[in-house]
Amino acid sequence: MTTTEATLPREAGRRRGRMGAGKQLHAGPVTYLVLTVFALVSLAPLVWTAIAASRTDRRLAQTPPPLWFGGNLFKNLEAAWDQAGLGTAMLNSVIVAGTITVSTVLFSTLAGFAFAKLRFRFSGVLLLLTIGTMMIPPQLAVVPLYLWMSDLGWSNQLQTVILPSLVTAFGTFFMRQYLVQALPTELIEAARVDGASSLRIVWHVVFPAARPAMAVLGLLTFVFAWNDFLWPIIALTQQNPTVQVALNSLGTGYVPDQAVIMAGALLGTLPLLVAFLLFGKQIVGGIMQGAIKG
């Protein structure tokens, strides 16, 4: 009885929303045309990277530029792989981005849960502080971090890159916004009544409820960590690079072979593009969700 009463208005609201969507205008041919142009602009540079990576340096310097694939792809990929040390770089990037992702998702969920559902002194102030710190640019931390890491003898080691990114204010806020709505307070109260400890509640109630948002935050964090540039380029050298640092060294080589550079760019982007093919829908949904609630 009570459950139907509780769900009825929500259902009605949802139905109205769907009716609203039904009233949305159908896209005409002009819309499809403009969208196609946008899509081409989005994809063309990536496709052309592959074309350029399959040519030779000399061919790329000629006019007109090549518009179709040549036969040098694998030779260039191999050269880029060797010259930039992309094997080490890929492994390093996987370790760095993987650790950062797991840690960010875990700690963001815990803190987000506390901010969304638990009552404690200063919670309001602390949440405002969290939101406020999203404005601090990373540049403001790099000089001290660099000095500390040198003091510790950690220059050029992976933990140097990992440690400062283990948590993000954005992640905490994102999980908080999600859990406010997605986690029924009654569920936590019921678990408390059964005498469940806070850790048990986190494990059996919060994590299951947060799973969709955790997945999305994980994907967003991985993309961010994989593409991070400023701090890795200061903290790491060519001896122990992440993918971005390795690509930078390819691009700043004194005798650049453009086809090899393009092969490197292709390799460096490929892991994320594959992830995008697999999880694109979730990433899109996550960005839209983060936007609508933020």
């Binding site: 540079p45 400062p164 694109g280 990433i283 839209m288």
Partner: protein, 341 residues
Amino acid sequence: MSSSKQALAHPASSAEAAPGTTPGAARGARGRGGPAAPDSWRSRLYRWDMKASPYAFVAPFFVLFGAFSLVPLLYTAWYSLHDVQLSALDHQTWAGLDNYKNLLSSDFFWNALRNTLSIGVISTVPQLLAALGLAHLLNYRLRGSTAWRVVMLTPYATSVAAATLVFTLLYSWDGGMVNWVLHFFGVDPVNWRESDWGSQFAVSSIVIWRWTGYNALIYLAAMQAIPADLYESAAIDGANRWQQFRHVTIPQLRPTILFTVVVSTIGATQLFGEPLLFGGVSGSKGGSEHQYQTLGLYMYDQGWIIGNLGKASAIAWSMFLILLIVAAVNLLLTRRLRKSQ
């Protein structure tokens, strides 16, 4: 639409509720319905768990964030008042405001500030306008709507390094794709790397390419939250599509637009990877004539190429102050706008 208000309203209300009330204890007693003896170790443990666990849950975030973001922020201010050289890290001597005076009298600093502003404007404004239009189109009923969204977002998955390397080649003087296409329209080849506005435009286009789809999705999310009845009543009043967009969509989107403006401004102030890689070997200088040396590049150049970390700290703090000023101006402008309407 109301989401941002909710977000801001909640912390205040929870802060009000926090002191005084002890909901956990009351709830626990009610729920157990008697058998829990008030002083058993179990209930004491339970109460302690209720009190301490919120702090335990937020602690990792604040400890790590404090250690690696907030404390360094203060240390950067400290170092900016010292002479710290990369070559002699142990010899740090007090310099007072010398680093800042140095900056203010440096042409390169003002040049970098100007470049940051101009690149910021020519990358942010077209980007957000295009995103708005794109979101409007994506908001129609489309075949394969998810596929369109994923495609528009692919540039976001491309790293700064990869994207910039590709665009650098597209913009090259000889045999570059862009100049080749321009020649069909009868435009003379542009020296995208050396010319003033050409190089700034080239750097901006990388930013625009990577972020337009991302911003479009944010606008799309907000557009989908606009109640359909608003459009219905506008249609009844005889508003055409453009008038509906102008008088319903845009006003409803205002908080989201402000959000994206702030985020893009922050991004533009920190612009670093694109100009660095676009410049190739002379990357940290922002081109042979410093045409596109941004503040981010200037800091990197002074700190890690020239090796003056004290000055780099001063640049970092100047960037922060500029950001705060920009944010304040943003806030003032929106207040004005809201009042005038």
